[in-house]
């Protein structure tokens, strides 16, 4: 009897997962490859979500590949199916809808979700996010109807969102946290640059403050800051960075911290399981510690590397070609552990 | 009593007697041969209708294909010459739609028991109130002398020159088995007796089956000839309970030339009555 082909399963349908899948297929024509995503939308460009909210693009424009591209590559995609837990011993994934899947090798590329500041956890129900398509669909119509907004935080998406709302003639207030771009910390110099850029917008910028309370009254939200600023708004948005989406890995025997711990080859403590993208904490030889990464280019590189390593290679993840994010005129290193060049640090 | 209003062909082919408003003007001679027993059947039929005082316009005769198919032409009423083996279904539909009419179905032995054999069980078990006359000459006459369903075993015919290999059906046994509520046999050479049977049959409220022994003078010169019939046919003179199936079956089996009423169940409801009762009960 012919042995079954290998079944490579990838949890996550973002850039890391997709590039991993593509690489696996390129190298192995016969293996079964399955991508599992808890989102009900095929591989899409998260950075374009703000344009989508503003109706500058439609859903089809968000998608990276045509719908039939998976079929052509013979990659199976299971959308809208969340993983409940993993059993590495039996190499089985348990999906939330009570189906179990066996894998030969697993790549976890489940990405990250919006981080809710610990101080804000009691107000979590009042907060809205723009980290995924599902988040956006929840608020899209409401945004069109609303007029008054409060944003707090201040990461890449946050500022884009602010710009978008301002341009649509809304009343927007933004409370910038230096820690919003976690795990990066914005220096005073960076903050000043950012504020200068943002002042050109028609928005109310608040700094060196903190939210004291948020009260919901008849669909509106009444915010009070520590320094006594009061705002009554229709919607409150939080942009405070991302945390890895790894709930399903807890208790499985895979080593985790904030994210999935992997060595420089992107392998977890379990030999058949790899992780990559923003869900992973990667061991860095240089700093002898684990680093989290963010951004598209990192995810792509890591996805490819994880796939190659899974197949037997030994690629160490290098930093990517695009070295910086542009955050309101401030350059932020994509790989913060690198010493790229001294004067780029503004 | 008014003179018999009928149009029929004189046995000697001399005249076509036209009476009243239905004139029989055919450019062809009828297909019945001189001496055919069918003339006798039709004669008995007229007399029966007369004595029952049936109105012409209320009689419908439905025939199949065969020499017997022409029968309605000779009867001064509504007639329908249908398809081979199908006089019974047509007559059934007609009667069920028009309960006010008196409906007769006629067919030959080949028609009724061969191609039409599948219809007989059902008209009988449903007890549809029509009278069926089986013109049994034990041969296919119109197509010129082939074996039929009642042709005797080993008789030489035009389709079996070496002798008929088939065992004939017994029409009376069949009618009894199918549950007909009136089963009789008559003889074309006895218009009086046949007339009485037809009268009884018509009066009977249910499906009436009469097998009529009749010769085919042209194609059966050895078996069912006038001579043989005259010698063998006799009146069964049944003075037994009408509903005695065992006796009826025994007679049917052993008395192929006996004429009379084999079986009659007067108590059984005819089809329309049954339907009415059932529909009323379920309402």
């Amino acid at each position: 009897m012919m042995p079954d082909n290998d079944h490579y399963v990838i949890i996550g349908n973002g850039p890391a997962g997709n590039h991993a899948a593509a690489t696996l297929r390129q190298k192995d024509k016969d293996a079964k490859i399955t991508i599992i995503s808890d989102e009900c939308i095929p591989y899409y460009y998260k950075p374009k979500l703000t344009d989508f909210i503003a109706d500058k693009i439609v859903k089809e424009d968000l998608l990276v590949n045509p719908l039939d591209s998976y079929e052509i590559k013979n990659i199976r995609v299971r959308c809208g199916q969340a993983v409940d837990r993993i059993d590495p011993d039996s190499k089985t994934l348990f999906l939330q809808h009570m189906e179990k899947i066996k894998y030969s090798k697993l790549i976890i590329a489940s990405g990250s979700n919006a981080r809710v500041l610990p101080s804000m956890s009691s107000y979590a129900d009042h907060l809205k996010f723009v980290t995924s398509y599902a988040d956006v669909m929840e608020v899209k119509d409401e945004i069109q109807k609303a007029k008054d907004f409060f944003i707090f935080g201040g990461d890449l998406v946050g500022f884009k969102f602010l710009r978008m709302l301002s341009s649509m003639d809304n009343n927007v207030s933004i409370l910038i946290y230096p820690d919003a771009f976690w795990p990066y910390h914005l220096t005073a110099g960076m903050m000043a640059q950012i504020i200068e850029n943002l002042s050109k917008l028609n928005a109310d910028i608040i700094v060196d403050d903190d939210i004291l309370s948020i009260d919901e009254q008849n669909g509106s939200y009444r915010l009070t800051t520590q320094k006594g600023i009061e705002k009554t708004v229709d919607m409150v948005f939080s942009f405070n960075g991302l945390i890895p989406n790894i709930e399903f890995a807890k208790g499985s025997g895979i080593d985790i911290d904030h994210g999935i711990l992997v060595d420089e080859y992107l392998k977890t403590n379990v030999s058949s399981i790899y992780a990559c993208g923003s869900c992973a904490q990667i061991y860095n030889r240089t700093i002898k510690s684990y680093s989290t990464s963010i951004g598209w280019p990192n995810a792509v590189a890591q996805g490819e590397a994880a796939a190659l390593n899974l197949l037997g290679d030994h690629k160490v993840i290098e930093s990517v070609s695009k070295k910086y994010f542009d955050l309101e005129g401030v350059k932020i290193k994509t790989s913060w552990w690198e010493d790229i060049d001294k004067d780029s640090d503004a | 009593m008014e003179p018999i209003e009928s149009a029929y062909l004189d046995e000697k082919l001399e005249t076509v007697k036209d009476i009243d408003f239905l004139q029989y003007r055919s450019t062809d001679l009828p297909t019945w041969c001189p001496g055919c027993g069918y003339f006798g059947i039709v004669d008995a039929f007229y007399r029966a209708c007369r004595e029952l005082d049936l109105k012409h316009e209320n009689i419908v005769t439905v025939s199949g294909i065969g020499c017997s198919g022409r029968t309605p032409i000779f009867i001064n009423s509504y007639g329908f010459h249908t398809l081979h083996g199908r006089s019974i279904p047509v007559a059934s539909g007609l009667k069920l739609a028009r309960e006010d009419l008196t409906v007769f179905a006629v067919a030959g032995d080949g028609d009724a028991l061969g191609i039409g054999g599948g219809h007989l069980p059902h008209v009988a078990r449903k007890n549809i109130n029509i009278t069926f006359l089986l013109f049994d000459n034990s041969i296919y006459g119109l197509t010129k002398g082939q074996s039929s369903s009642t042709t005797p075993y080993e008789m030489r015919t035009n389709s079996h020159p070496a002798g008929n290999p088939d065992t004939p059906l017994n029409p009376i046994k069949l009618a009894l088995s199918y549950g007909a509520s009136f089963v009789a046999r008559g003889y074309a050479g006895d218009p009086q007796g046949l007339k009485e049977l037809i009268k009884e049959a018509t009066l009977h409220q249910g499906f009436s089956f009469i097998q009529i022994l009749t010769p085919c003078v042209t194609f059966d010169k050895e078996n069912r000839t006038w001579k043989a019939l005259k010698e063998n046919v006799y009146d069964l003179n049944l003075h037994i309970e009408e509903k005695n199936m065992e006796t009826a079956m025994r007679m049917a089996e052993h008395e192929p030339y006996g004429v009379g009423i084999f079986f009659q169940d007067r108590d059984r409801l005819h089809y329309q009555e049954i339907l009415r009762n059932l529909n009323a009960a379920s309402a």
């Binding site: 998976y70 | 408003f21 316009e57 047509v90 539909g93």
Partner: protein, 586 residues
């Protein structure tokens, strides 16, 4: 709201309430003022857990075809639903049980096979059903509840509809259904993040009048009763059996008689007997039964006896495919049988016109003393529409026999040659009207006559009568009339016509200058109308549900020009999407 046009499929195992869920959905949407069309499919086996699909199209505008692909698939049973995913649109919605009674083995969940573009909403159907009523039976209602919540349907209005549907059942049944619905509704409202754009928010079109939710078979039976049917004889055969079953109950109440015969030959024989007796009679069958009735079709025409045969077409030839639709009996209906045998053939193009067609059939059969074949198909027989309550036939339609007058009866000629070809017909019981009918060629008195001049004369009479029927042909249906020429003309018949009309109208919106033509009467065929239409069309397309292009052959013969053909024998109804695709290619 104005553009609501959505196809919802519910797929389950026999016994799971799949079909009844579809029925409740249709009824409710109809009560909210929407047009609905349902076409359900049942498993082939009588017992067991075969696959059922309740397919319903809901629209704010008139519906012409059932829709090829669905927008929503509600999966009550994973295994069966996997095999139904092919019919869900690329970006369709899948509603499935996220907490099934038993865990799925690998690859046995339906959501596992959903394509990347689909949107899947998992609802704990089983769990909620148990919560509502203690068992899994209400899963179908839980699913409907979830659908209602997702699509902004009014909760109370829907539960009212459920209560009305089960009003004759025990309170416990009503409650368990309503509660299951509410569990699904509330759960979905609370937990599901809607990421699709569909909405079924009720519209009030001001159409408060009640609609009839009905299929072709039921309409035919109703029409027959309204049109004074006296007698029905029939034999069970899929898909026509239902007509007989309805009439077996109703016809006696109307004073008529129903006869279940031993075979189809007996059935048509009895119908002809009743017709001879002057009473309106009909039978309903399908291909194999129709084939058996062939000999009698000749008798009806030759002896000029009224008869109506309904042939609900199914996959053929021979026993074929009893539970799938096809349009392959055109030839057989229009020209089957032996001899020069002209007969009237009516082929209604949608559910609603099954009523008019039946009334017309009984009228024409009686007036023209001949055979009328009424062609339906499995799809028309079984698909359900909500229609306005049909108007009952007028008095003229109910009594069409041309009786002989006193003069005629003096020397009554049953087959007298007249201007129209119709000979006054005395009905048995008429004094002085006695006559002899035969299947042999005959003279004007009905007496057998084999003379060649007579045969020509009588054949001409029968054809003259046949052509006179054209004067009473219903007007053809032409979808786009406001232009002088068209690039493509789609000519179709029977149930394919709806899809053809829809395709033509949609094509216009896409910039393809198209129109479509269909006619209920296909024999005699209104050739003049056809030619007039075809002359306006640069190209002709003839879609039909048969392999050999029976109608295309027929039309080509009339038009004497080449046509494009589009043939399907999938057993599914014609899809306007397929016709449109072909038109684009043309």
């Amino acid at each position: 709201m104005k553009d609501i046009n959505i196809v919802i499929e519910i797929c389950g195992s026999a016994g799971e309430g799949t079909i009844s869920a579809g029925e409740i959905l249709s009824r409710f949407m109809s009560s909210q003022g929407f047009e609905i069309m349902s076409f359900d499919s049942y498993p082939a086996e009588i017992r067991g857990f075969g696959k059922c699909v309740a397919h319903t199209r809901i629209s704010a505008n008139p519906i012409y075809s059932p829709g090829k692909l669905s927008d929503v698939l509600i999966a009550l049973n994973d295994k069966h639903s996997i095999s139904q995913l092919f019919a869900l649109k690329e970006n369709g919605i899948l509603i499935y049980d996220s907490q099934p009674a038993r865990p799925h083995k690998e690859d046995e969940s339906v959501v596992g096979w959903a394509k990347p573009g689909m949107i899947s909403y998992g609802i704990p159907l089983n769990m909620l059903a148990h919560k509502a009523a203690g068992n899994a039976r209400g899963m179908n209602m839980v699913a409907l509840g979830a659908l209602a919540a997702l699509f902004h349907v009014d909760k109370l209005a829907f539960t009212d509809s459920i209560k009305a549907r089960y009003s004759k059942k025990k309170q416990i049944v009503i409650d368990s259904n309503v509660n299951s619905f509410l569990e699904g509704y509330d759960w979905a409202k609370k937990n599901i993040k809607k990421i699709d754009h569909h909405s079924l928010k009720g519209i009030s079109l001001g159409r408060a009048k009640e609609k009839l939710i009905i299929n072709g078979n039921q309409l035919v039976a109703q029409a027959a009763l309204d049109a004074n049917l006296s007698f029905y004889a029939g034999y069970p055969i899929t898909p026509a059996t239902k007509i007989m079953e309805i009439l077996s109950k109703e016809l006696p109440k109307h004073g008529g008689t129903l006869l279940q015969t031993e075979d189809e030959i007996s059935a048509i024989g009895a119908v002809i007997g009743a017709g001879f007796g002057g009473k309106r009679a009909m039978t309903a069958t399908s291909g194999p039964g129709f084939a058996l009735m062939t000999e009698f079709t000749g008798l009806s025409v030759m002896a000029e006896v009224p008869a109506v045969i309904i042939n609900s077409q199914r996959g053929g030839p021979s026993t074929g495919i009893p539970t799938k639709t096809e349009q392959s009996d055109f030839n057989s209906a229009v020209s089957g049988g032996t001899g020069d045998c002209p007969r009237i053939v009516l082929a209604p193009t949608d559910t609603k016109s099954c009523y008019e067609a039946t009334v017309l059939a009984l009228y024409l059969a009686e007036k023209y003393q001949t055979l009328v074949v009424l062609l339906l198909d499995f799809f028309l027989s079984n698909s359900i529409r909500n229609i306005d309550i049909p108007q009952k036939p007028s008095a003229e339609m109910l009594d069409a026999n041309i009786a002989p007058d006193k003069e005629d009866l003096k020397d009554y000629q049953r087959y007298k040659i007249t201007e129209t070809g119709i000979s006054p017909r005395a009905v048995p019981g008429t004094k002085g009207g006695m006559f002899f009918s035969t299947g042999l060629e005959h003279d004007e008195y009905g007496r057998p006559n084999y003379d060649d001049a007579n045969h020509l004369k009588m054949t001409q009479k029968r054809y003259k009568k046949f052509n006179t029927v054209l004067l009473e042909a219903p007007a053809p249906e032409i979808s786009v009339k406001d232009k002088e020429t068209f690039d493509i003309g789609v000519i179709s018949w029977g149930s394919s016509a709806g899809a053809a009309h829809e395709a033509a109208m949609t094509a216009q919106k896409e910039g393809i200058n198209a129109s479509s033509f269909s006619t209920m009467m296909v024999s005699p065929f209104p050739e003049k109308d056809l030619i007039e239409f075809a002359d306006k069309c640069k190209k002709i397309l003839i879609p039909e549900l048969n392999f050999s292009g029976q109608f295309a052959n027929f039309v080509t013969h009339i038009l004497k020009r080449p046509v494009e053909r589009l043939n399907f024998i999938t057993g599914r109804p014609m899809a306007s999407e397929d016709i449109l695709q072909k038109m684009r290619e043309m």
